[in-house]
């Protein structure tokens, strides 16, 4: 179970070895494995503006540099700016006189204002706009021109280098010249070295290279004014670091140079299992919707464990622990509680080799599984707290929303199963703490669940699946700290 502000008391082990609360885990129905944000593949699904909830096609988002065209953020406090309307006094046109009656109507003008820090676009001298959205002056990067020149120059050099290489290959030079190794080693600036060293550059030296003027060094450096240190500093006029970095292009140092920041877009992500490439989540396209088209969360497939209460953990003592188990699936579940080391080591084995399979493999690009060696790791299990394994396997009824209203308290209960109610039951377990457990260290009990799972994915022709599976999951239960 995960909480918003409390620590996560019950955590599950993902297949890749990460420990996370169940709400952060996914369940791939095709591999029948628990997955988490660390071991799945994230993809950008759609761009949208989180303020106006407008979708933007990704090509348009690329053109607009991932910024919304109608929403702005405050450059001072980064809150969203709102458009406010004022009535500008109607300008008396002496030439037109009173011929035009509608001219007397005050004209509506708009400016941007921040409700949090009361910054307005008038503060920095941006004139009011006659239209409510858009039309705000855009500032260009002051270095864009020079950057363009440099880019052209380097591109020309790279082009020339490529041409040279082609020429050399055509002429079939057997001996590699001295300067080739230099270029190979140092990258494109090697070609630059050649041109500047006055070496015979190739005939096709383009105009971009010829016209390029390298930066000129100056002897004098801009000094601070003489009275800089005696002048009073008004901190209200100097921007803070976050304000500067919010617009990397110009990084205004004075408050008077701040500009409204076009709001950055957000993305909806879809998530994919790395192993089988099936989608784990896929959001709906509509930015206003928080629903998913595909939503394979562990919360809907793996039995959930919650702590009801527990006795304080003391070294060398056996204490009791009350847990609640919930079956979230629509099928009956057979559950038994086992020791964590009893979980069979299921290697995600390669598919059985058959002629058809290898044919399929040769057609598709071979599935790349190199990520596994870096992502998967063996977690260290704390072993100071041992669980007394109840010799019991029990069935947990399917989730049935209607059963909530049934009054069925006459289930058989015993020492271990304290009560049952539709798809939930309470368990009493015993844990023994090691004598050597350090007082004050966190008390974590590990238990594993073996549960039956019915796969509801319709079997396809090339993957005949069994419907019923026995799966395992390992759970870490945080029981406060070890106390004396």
């Amino acid at each position: 179970m995960a909480y918003l502000i409390q620590p996560d008391y019950v955590q599950y082990f993902c297949t890749c070895g990460q420990i996370k609360p169940i709400t952060n885990l996914y369940f791939c129905r095709h591999c029948l494995k628990v997955r988490c944000g660390f071991c799945i593949c994230h993809e950008v699904d759609s761009h949208y503006c989180a303020n106006c909830l407008e979708n933007m096609p990704s090509s348009e988002a690329r053109l607009k540099k991932n910024r919304c065209s109608s929403c702005f953020d405050c450059p001072s406090c980064f809150h969203t700016l709102s458009t406010r309307a004022t009535y500008a006094p109607a300008r008396q046109d002496p030439a037109a006189g009173d011929a035009k009656v509608e001219n007397k109507q005050p004209k509506k003008m708009y400016y941007l204002s921040c409700f949090n820090c009361r910054w307005t676009s008038r503060d920095v001298g941006i004139p009011d706009q006659p239209v409510a959205s858009g039309g705000w002056p855009e500032r260009t990067n002051p270095f864009a021109n020079r950057f363009g020149q440099l880019l052209e120059y380097f591109k020309a050099i790279a082009q020339q280098e490529k041409q040279d290489k082609l020429d050399k290959e055509r002429k079939k030079y057997a001996i590699r010249g001295k300067y080739i190794t230099l270029t190979d080693k140092t990258g494109l600036t090697g070609a630059m070295a050649r041109t500047t060293a006055g070496l015979p550059s190739s005939e096709s030296s383009s105009s971009a290279i010829a016209n390029f003027v390298p930066s000129q060094a100056k002897e004098e450096v801009e000094e601070l004014p003489e009275d800089y240190h005696t002048k009073e500093v008004n901190l209200k006029l100097i921007t803070t670091m976050p304000q500067r970095l919010a617009s990397p292009e110009w990084q205004a140092q004075l408050v008077s140079r701040l500009q409204p920041i076009a709001r950055p877009l957000s993305v909806k992500r879809s998530q994919r299992c790395r192993r089988c490439d099936h989608n784990l989540t896929k959001p709906e396209y509509n930015p206003g919707s928080i629903k998913f088209k595909i939503e394979l969360l562990a919360y809907y497939h793996v039995p959930e464990v919650k702590i009801i209460s527990f006795e304080t953990i003391k070294p060398g003592c056996t204490t009791e622990l009350l847990l609640k188990l919930t079956n979230p699936t629509a099928h009956e579940m057979q559950i038994s509680i086992i020791q964590p080391d009893e979980v069979p080591e299921v290697e995600e084995k390669e598919e059985p080799k058959s002629i058809e399979k290898s044919l399929e493999k040769s057609l598709n690009l071979e599935k790349d599984t190199s990520w596994r060696q870096v992502i998967e790791r063996k977690p260290l299990l704390p072993t100071t707290i041992k669980l007394h394994k109840p010799e019991l396997s029990f069935t947990l009824a399917q989730r049935d929303d209607a059963a909530e209203y049934d009054d069925d308290s006459h289930h058989e209960t015993n020492d271990i199963i304290l009560w049952r109610k539709s798809n939930k039951l309470a368990l009493r377990l015993k844990v023994t703490t090691d004598e050597e457990a350090k007082v004050g260290s966190p008390a974590v009990a590990i238990l594993a669940l073996q549960y039956s799972y019915r796969n509801t994915v319709p079997p396809t022709a090339n993957s005949p699946q069994t419907r019923d599976h026995v799966l395992y999951t390992t759970v870490a239960i945080h029981l406060g700290t070890v106390t004396q």
């Binding site: 406090c77 949090n116 307005t120 503060d123």
Partner: protein, 189 residues
Amino acid sequence: MSHNVKILPGATVCEDCTLEGDITIGSGTVIHPRVTIIAEGGPIVIAEYCIIEEYSTIIHKKSDNQENPPKPLFIGAHNVFEVGCKVESIFGHIGEYNVFECRCFVGPDVKISSGCVVGASCKLSAPQTLVDNTVIWGSDHNIREALEKQPSQLLQLDFLSKVMPNYHRLRKPNGHKRQPSRQSTEAGK
């Protein structure tokens, strides 16, 4: 004590509020229910067109070196005291066009000029002076200087003074309307 409260014609003052001490409320000012205004250190004068919202508290604190006769606390025109704000001042003057946002606290040693905004939940307790058009916001008390004074809430005042009588019992105005010219000269002091 509340018999010392002087409400000028045109002011909208709800009955369900605590007014203690010598208090004068200017015309056009709207005082919501559950407002507490305590003038223990001297009279409080509230000028025109202020909005004092629910649960806000204005206290004119007794100071150690009390002058005799006690100096009045003069609150200028067009101030907005938003819900739950608390202003304790021993300085004799709060300017005009200030906004005290929700649940802010202005301690006794803070001097407030005109056009200032104390942001929501900002606790100003250290002695300081807010110069004209200072805006304070956020938990870090970011400060900036606005170019112009905050716009007045005349539309809102208009609406409130029309609507409030329909839903609340009001206190009757008992003062005489002063000359607007005299008022403004006093505000300028």
